[in-house]
């Protein structure tokens, strides 16, 4: 018996088939009976409101409805909020460079990193970091940034059902010393 049939002409599709990301947050909401808000979204809103930030420049890739005032002009911003998943997919070196560049424009950054993307190239290993991954992420940032880094992340073992692909899970408030 021959395993491979040749009854139809084959066309190779090389582009990625994934196309849900931009609206993933909205789409997921449809799967559940209750109207709901994401815990992580409320946490960010509370942070912004408690600290009285007035003009937030939001670097994002998927749709999120925050209740605070944003600005389209990064130079006017008093806080840069990063929820863009792409940010976590840069090389570790580039993530640090980009944070430094953004800090030169605005002195406060609330950074959300997706732990599952970090060191996406697989080539930037630091064996001196703690074994615990969440601790290692914080240590890596502190080690490479000459800023104050405050960790706002919550500890949990991700099973893919924590809305991490709507708002990245590792959260840090970065300010000038």
């Amino acid at each position: 018996m021959v395993a491979v049939l040749k009854s139809k002409n084959k066309i190779i599709v090389d582009h990625t088939l994934y196309k849900w990301h931009r609206h993933w947050g909205k789409l997921q909401k449809k799967f559940f009976a209750e109207t709901h808000e994401l815990h992580e979204q409320i946490k960010i809103q509370d942070f912004v409101n408690t600290n009285r930030f007035q003009k937030v420049y939001h670097i994002k890739d998927n749709h999120l409805d925050f209740n605070f005032t944003t600005t389209d002009d990064i130079k006017q911003a008093d806080l840069i909020l990063i929820t863009d998943q792409k940010f976590s997919r840069y090389s570790c070196k580039d993530i640090i460079s980009k944070i430094n560049a953004l800090m030169a424009i605005c002195p406060s950054i609330y950074l959300c990193l997706n732990r599952h993307y970090l060191n996406i190239t697989g080539t930037e290993i630091d064996t001196t970091l703690p074994d615990d991954y969440e601790e290692a992420i914080e240590t890596w940032l502190r080690k490479n940034l000459d800023f104050t880094v405050k960790n706002y992340s919550e500890r949990f073992i991700d099973d893919g059902k924590y809305f991490t692909w709507v708002i990245p899970d590792q959260k840090f408030y970065i300010t000038k010393k």
Binding site: V4, I11, I12, F32, I120, D131, A136
Partner: protein
């Protein structure tokens, strides 16, 4: 309004075919290949599918959790196994299993080729979890069966991506799979280049193995 941290904080809407289909589609992106192929004189596949076709051996082929029905015009004697009952609605030939253990119960030592491509239900576990899944798949494999297995490094948990060598990690996984009665014939591990884009193949998975069942 309710606040949700995790899916379990919310009530899933059940018995809604339209929604079940939407959820299925977002999880099984290769379903799109079937949508395109069924109305066409051509069959749409990925280059990884072509790689599998090039390596298939004669005999019976099983494909699990991979929306594999789009390959029905490419593979002789193909059995499409899925967990989600919604598949039966649009592809009645699919065999729906509740658990992975059911595959071996229904088809003991049956398949000459077994394919699992970027199966979402294999994600979010560590290497021990993967080994448990593979042990279940193995029950359905005939001696010398070829096992085509691919996953994504970004949905594998928990591991310290900043400290552990990624290549060693996934070569190590292949070695662990070998210990339960396989020989690794081929490993392909490709990572993203750090320009902000996803890893090289989010559709099929960027960690790909071909094993031969030895015991």
């Amino acid at each position: 309004m309710k606040t949700a941290k995790h899916y379990q904080d919310l009530t899933k809407i059940k018995n809604n075919d339209k929604l079940d289909y939407l959820k299925y589609r977002t999880g099984k992106i290769k379903h799109e290949l079937w949508l395109k192929s069924r109305k066409s004189d051509s069959v749409y596949i990925t280059s990884y599918d072509q790689c599998i076709l090039d390596n298939l051996q004669e005999g019976k082929t099983g494909i699990f959790g991979s929306a594999g029905y789009y390959l029905e015009d490419c593979v002789e004697d193909l059995t499409v196994l899925e967990k989600n009952p919604i598949v039966k609605k649009f592809y009645p030939k699919a065999i729906i299993v509740k658990e992975r253990e059911d595959i071996g119960r229904l088809y003991p030592k049956y398949f000459d080729n077994f394919i699992v491509t970027n199966n979402r239900s294999d994600m979010w576990c560590d290497s021990e979890g993967i080994i448990d899944h593979v042990k279940n798949y193995k029950e359905a494999m005939a001696p010398d069966c070829l096992f085509f297995y691919s996953i994504r490094d970004t949905q594998f948990t928990p591991w310290n991506r900043l400290k552990i060598n990624h290549y060693k990690m996934f070569v190590g996984l292949a070695k662990q799979i070998e210990q339960i009665g396989f020989r690794c014939k081929q490993t392909q591990i490709d990572f993203a280049n750090g320009d902000g884009n996803e890893n090289p193949d989010t559709t099929n998975g960027n960690i790909r193995y071909i094993f031969k069942c030895t015991k």
